[in-house]
Structures are given as structure tokens and as C-alpha cells.
């Protein structure tokens, strides 16, 4: 049995006539493996890791001006995802919006992330010009705590005649090879002293998708 120099594709020697069918089978299987690997590499580009979630399935709150509502979306909030996280952590390998490190991103590179708050509601009266804040932070855990990598969100002041507000935010973030140390911390606060605020069931839409690596483009 002989082999090519680089890919180690098999070809028979002069003493191998009797084994030609076996060698042909091995060659076919090797070629198939190489082509499947190439197809997988190209598929990664055309089908990037993507997560879309709508939730939580239960309302958050009502909560007052001194409270901070923490947003976490779990498996039952996932509309679409095509990747898993490794190690699987506490969610069985399924990615999600989570303030705990390692639950959202599965690889290094540039990611596009965003959110939409679909109705941030006052349960009663509205204090004129009182603020509502939605803030999302992508953080990285370090030995001395969590470092904020990106911070984005929206702060608005509500008119007294308006009881429901909508928020959006989006950004890009560079995730390095320690992607298991990254988290997404999204919180709601408000200053509506006249009544408490609530986020209805399925009141937040969250998404993230990997755009690509940060390597320089090569000219073919």
C-alpha cells in the first residue's frame, strides 16, 4: 500500500492486486471524508451561529423604583438556534441570554447582538417625565471581577399619558478565544414613583449572530 504525501490518499503497490476492491473502498471513504470536511467549512460561513429568543414566558414584576429587573431567557424562550455551547453549562448546551458566563456565545469572532423590549408597562399612574432604562452589557469574567466589553441600551422619559414604552438596542462585539467567560447582562430600571412597572410575558426579543472572525481578509 502506498499513500500520497499530504492527504495520505491510498493507492496500491505492485503486490496488492488481490486487495484492489478493499483499496478502492478505502479510497472512496477517504475522498468522501475530505469532501465532507470542505463542505462543513463552507457551510459554517453560509450558516453562522444564530440565536433568537422571545420571552420570558412569565411576566416580570411589578417592581418599584428601588428594584432592578434582571432578564434571563431560557430554553423555552428560544425561537431559533443552530448551535450549542461547550461546555454545556447549566442549560444542556443550549445558548441563551444569560448574565452567567459561557451561556451565550460558542466561538470567538465578531458577533451582532440586539434586543427589543415589547412593552414596558406601568401598572397604574405614570409620573410625568419619569425615566425608564434598559441596559445591556456584554461582560467578560476576569480574576478581578467582570469587565464590561460593550454597554448599550435606551433611556427614555415617559409622558404622564403614556403607560407603555418600547425599547430597542443593538451593537457588535468582539469575542475572543475565551468565549466561555462572556456574559450578557440585561436589566430594567425605572423612576415611575406613581406606580410599579412590569414587563409582560414574552416582552423581550433577543438575538445574536456571529458575523465572522476578526482575521484579515486574504485576497484569493
Amino acid at each position: 500500500m502506498n499513500f500520497t504525501d499530504i492527504l495520505r490518499l491510498p493507492c496500491p503497490g505492485e503486490n496488492d492486486y488481490a486487495a484492489l476492491p478493499i483499496y478502492m473502498q478505502r479510497l472512496a471513504e477517504d475522498i468522501e471524508a475530505k469532501m465532507l470536511a470542505q463542505r462543513a467549512a463552507i457551510a459554517l460561513e453560509t450558516n453562522p451561529p444564530t440565536l433568537v429568543q422571545l420571552g420570558p414566558q412569565s411576566a416580570i414584576g411589578p417592581f418599584g423604583t428601588s428594584s432592578i429587573a434582571q432578564l434571563t431567557l431560557q430554553n423555552n424562550s428560544t425561537i431559533f438556534s443552530n448551535y450549542t455551547i461547550t461546555p454545556p453549562g447549566s442549560f444542556g448546551g443550549r445558548p441563551q441570554l444569560s448574565p452567567s458566563p459561557g451561556n451565550t456565545f460558542n466561538s470567538a469572532g465578531v458577533w451582532y447582538i440586539g434586543f427589543c423590549i415589547i412593552g414596558y408597562v406601568a401598572v397604574g399612574a405614570v409620573t410625568n417625565d419619569s425615566n425608564r432604562l434598559v441596559r445591556a452589557q456584554v461582560g467578560k469574567g476576569t480574576s478581578s471581577g467582570t469587565t464590561t466589553i460593550e454597554s448599550f441600551g435606551r433611556r427614555i422619559n415617559a409622558e404622564s399619558t403614556i403607560a407603555t414604552e418600547y425599547f430597542t438596542g443593538q451593537t457588535t462585539v468582539m469575542i475572543d478565544n475565551e468565549f466561555t467567560k462572556y456574559s450578557v447582562d440585561m436589566v430594567l430600571t425605572h423612576a415611575n414613583a406613581a406606580s410599579n412597572m412590569t414587563l409582560p410575558a414574552n416582552g423581550v426579543l433577543f438575538w445574536c449572530t456571529r458575523l465572522g472572525s476578526t482575521e484579515n481578509i486574504e485576497v484569493v
Binding site: N2, T4, D5, I6, L7, L9, P10, C11, P12, G13, E14, D16, Y17, L20, Y23, L27, I31, K34, M35, Q38, A41, I42, L44, E45, V110, Y112, D129, N131, R135, E150, S151, F152, G153, R154, R155, I156, N157, T168, G169, Q170, T171, T172, M174, L211, G212, S213, T214, E215, N216, I217, E218, V220
Partner: protein, 205 residues
């Protein structure tokens, strides 16, 4: 006679001697390896990157609406990432200029405060035009996108953000994407962080 495919892969024909099969086979695998290796190389180039860049300013930017009523361009401090040579802070501190034509998604964020409470709206603008003229956003042919948010609480941090899709043509566009910000009613807008992301989405066909 041993025959070959158009790509040079050898195979035997009915008139060839069976004892020559090993040689033909080995020629076949050598040629096949030569064909597969460039595909590996191309796949490796395709998979990692698209044109994308992000710039950031964390040096405090103060814009006095009384002296610069049309706002001020953001000079970027640093490059967060740039896969396609779109940022050259040495020659232009203001631009992210694509080198490949196509559809781009552009997105800017700003964290800023206003010196006093006001019902007016400071503005975050993304533009594709010449910011060296004044007012630099006056051209009717320039693409411009903006976000406004009333800063009613004095000295409170407000987020401004905008994202849009845009078709960029490198052969006809002179300027890249840039950001300028403006305050309101003679008050000082203080931006503590501004970012601009630009990434390629598709060719235009």
C-alpha cells in the same frame, strides 16, 4: 491506452493491461490530491472573515450647541477590529471606508449627558458625506441616518443608537461612513463613549 478526465484524473480503459492498474491508480490519487488541496485553501479563506470594522471613542467629547449648532464630527480613538483595511486613523480620524462594494449594515451607539434638563433632543447622526464642509450634512445627495432622544433628566446618561442598511459603491463614493453629534438649545452635550460598526452583508447584483 490510459485516459484522463478534463481535470487530469487518470483511468484505465478496456484495452489496458490489468497489471498496470496500480500505477494508474497512484497517478489518479496524486492528481486528486492536487485538486483537493486548492479547495481546502479556498474554503479556509472563505470561512473566517467578512469585511467588518468597529471604531470607538472614549475620550470625552463636548459639543457646545451655541458654537457648533450643526454638531461636531466624532474623531475615533481606537479600532476595535478591522478585517478589510477600512480604517486609517493616521490619515482620517473620522471615517470607516469600505474597500469592497456591496450592501453594508452600519450601526452607531453613543452614551451622553446634557448639561441641563431640556425637552429638546440631542442627535446622533451617521453620514456618508464630506464632513469638512459646514454644515457638512447639507448635501441632498448624501445618505444620512439619525437618532434623537430627549434628555429630560439633567446630567443623566442617555443612550443614542441607530442602525441601517446601505449600498456602498467604492468606485463612486468619495467618503466613508462617519458620525457627528449635536446638542440642543445652547447646552453642552458630553459624550463619554461613541462607537461605529460597519459590516458587509452581500454583493449587489
Amino acid at each position: 491506452m490510459v485516459a484522463t478526465t478534463s481535470l487530469g484524473l487518470e483511468y484505465q480503459q478496456g484495452t489496458d493491461r490489468p497489471c498496470d492498474a496500480p500505477d494508474v491508480w497512484c497517478e489518479f490519487t496524486e492528481t486528486l490530491e492536487g485538486l483537493l488541496l486548492p479547495i481546502d485553501s479556498i474554503a479556509g479563506r472563505v470561512s473566517p472573515s467578512i469585511p467588518c470594522a468597529k471604531v470607538r471613542r472614549t475620550t470625552v467629547l463636548s459639543v457646545n450647541d451655541a458654537t457648533t449648532p450643526f454638531g461636531a464630527p466624532v474623531a475615533w480613538d481606537s479600532v476595535v477590529f478591522d478585517t478589510d483595511g477600512m480604517v486609517d486613523l493616521t490619515n482620517s480620524q473620522f471615517e470607516v471606508k469600505p474597500t469592497r462594494s456591496g450592501t453594508y449594515f452600519i450601526q452607531a451607539n453613543m452614551l451622553a449627558t446634557l448639561s441641563a434638563a431640556n425637552v429638546g433632543s440631542p442627535t446622533l447622526n451617521i453620514i456618508v458625506s464630506n464632513f469638512s464642509t459646514s454644515p457638512f450634512f447639507s448635501s441632498g445627495t448624501s445618505a444620512q441616518w439619525l437618532d434623537q432622544c430627549p434628555a429630560i433628566d439633567a446630567a443623566a446618561q442617555y443612550y443614542y443608537r441607530y442602525g441601517a442598511a446601505h449600498i456602498y459603491n467604492t468606485s463612486t463614493f468619495t467618503f466613508g461612513y462617519s458620525v457627528f453629534v449635536s446638542g440642543i438649545s445652547s447646552l453642552i452635550l458630553t459624550a463619554t463613549e461613541v462607537t461605529l460598526s460597519v459590516y458587509w452583508v452581500s454583493d449587489v447584483v
